[in-house]
Subunit: 196 residues, 4 copies
């Protein structure tokens, strides 16, 4: 009688916290960290501004939480994509596609990782840098498997690709391109084995 249904136990869960996280992701991705106020965030989830601080100790920490989730999602997408693929260039290509899909269609979390600069997080800048590095290490691994002449070429390829991929958000218009076709084109421009 007291509880309306047996499921009553769980629902009081932390879905306000995650609603808040979602709103933060969207706003940070779309307008930037500094251009987003805690009021906007609160309004977006129907809280009062002060109530945010029940869930997160500061706006900075909220950013770190979003960023962390963003990195986690891109990593997961990339790992899922390369799973079962054997050819090293093929693995790199599907990884790039997954990366780009995460950035363009994959929701706001991933976009935050590319849009927000670590230094915006103030004290927590180092946390963001560590997260970013963790992801780049995953990419380094994929590139290490290629038959490239030396470490310099590997580093150059990693930075060329990640730069180009992360910049896509600045000009991407859905419909005209898809993540897959963009990556196809980018990879097509590369000289595979016979690099200088």
């Amino acid at each position: 009688m007291a509880r309306t249904t047996v499921k009553e136990r769980a629902p009081r869960q932390d879905n306000r916290r995650s609603a808040l996280l979602d709103a933060a992701a969207t706003h940070f991705a779309d307008r930037g960290f500094h251009a987003t106020s805690t009021r906007e965030l609160a309004a977006a989830v129907g809280m009062l501004p002060g109530s945010i601080y029940y869930h997160f100790p500061s706006k900075n920490d909220l950013l770190v939480a979003v960023y962390d989730e963003g990195v986690r999602r891109i990593e997961a997408a990339v790992e899922r994509a390369v799973d079962g693929v054997d050819d090293p260039w093929q693995r790199l290509e599907v990884a790039c596609t997954a990366h780009l899909e995460a950035l363009l269609d994959g929701g706001a979390y991933a976009r935050v990782v590319v849009r927000v600069q670590p230094e915006d997080a103030g004290d927590a800048a180092d946390d963001l840098i560590a997260l970013r590095d963790r992801y780049e290490a995953l990419f380094s691994g994929l590139i290490a498997a290629l038959d490239l002449p030396d470490v310099s070429a590997r580093r150059a390829l990693r930075l060329l690709l990640l730069g180009a991929l992360n910049w896509v958000q600045h000009w991407y218009r859905p419909g005209r391109d898809t993540p897959r076709t963009i990556v196809r084109r980018f990879m097509g421009l590369l000289a595979r084995g016979e690099t200088a």
Copy 2:
């Protein structure tokens, strides 16, 4: 002689305005537009906050002025670089190097163009977009001269290169690399004539 202050007397013109512009460029490039307050800018040039408004009607307009100067400088550098070079791939390479030099060693104005997102300018976002497009057109011209199969390949190359180049600021450490070596490496990864 009588007065001890070393205040520069010579450049009679409005060097207050350009000092302000310089300070804005540095701050916007280093910390971002929203993270820079007009007070900081004023303090940096020894003005009172209100005095900024004698020179510029708003903080947004100040950004537009900086951005405009930034684009102007990159354009000038690129044009100077390609001048007298004939081979299309060679022209592209020196252009990329000039672009990267402007970004990395060329002072704050150019960095603002890459760091600040047009939407940060509010009303004036369109002005910034127009400026960015103007510059990209210059780049498109250089790429059009290459022997690439179709318009898609040309577009892909432009976006790949600009993305990779503009991303460099996120990882560049002076000493280890130079703009020239970075561009050499990037170009070396590309399949020249025989692109797919």
Copy 3:
């Protein structure tokens, strides 16, 4: 002894309440009433902020409880000290010493009585004033037993002594002085019987 937690089991009664009271005493004494937040108090005893309100209806009431305990403790110390002493000046001196010991070495409760101003308690200011008066009456009794010329001299002596004693906390450095030596010196400065 199965469980590793050292949690005291014995004092069955509401030792959470008294832990809270202790924390409040310490914080109010050290930092003042307004400078102490209920969150700090809760954190100090490992509660959540809301849980305070199970034990006390408001922060003000918490202050009253601490203050009450503080007065009670000073009273008890003074009464214990004068017990068995006969000479009136001697009684006054040991009372002063007990008062000062309570203030300086006697824990936070007593210090709150001297540090916190009644008006800080808002509604409950009158409660604090009543408590303070109750204690001063005890002191008046001791002074009434002295061979002083008139009521004015008695009042002056009471206020001189209490003022000087209560001010000691502002300059006291343990080691250099002790409550006993301070009181000795103060009493030594007084003209005993032959007051003007």
Copy 4:
């Protein structure tokens, strides 16, 4: 004919700043530092809360300014009072009276010095302590001139008197007593030359 009167030059002076300082003194003295909000202060002088920060960089600095003025005023009053008085005990008595007058009738600035605890000023606590010490040094000088047996007696007398005097505000009711009569009574309780 531009200026309405020759006096026009001065009046735009800093009288808003000093109105603000006055309001701060009154509020800090009457209700304490933490219990006074910047809003109240601003409202008291008809400013908006933010406008305070044109005049003072922080609430703490405002306190320091008030405190400084308070010490200055007590010092001035004491120095004025002892001027022309020769007998050392007489000098001490008029100094005490001046001190007490400053505290009780002399406006809020002096009261702040006694009411607010240095630690309330946060960062600026040391500034307040330095000011308080400066004033106590003045008092030490007056006491050094007395024919007291040793340095301990001098120190004890200084602390006894200052304590008693500063505590007066807690029980003083105008009308019943005056600073002069209170000091007379206090001094009358002291054993002059023949101290133990």
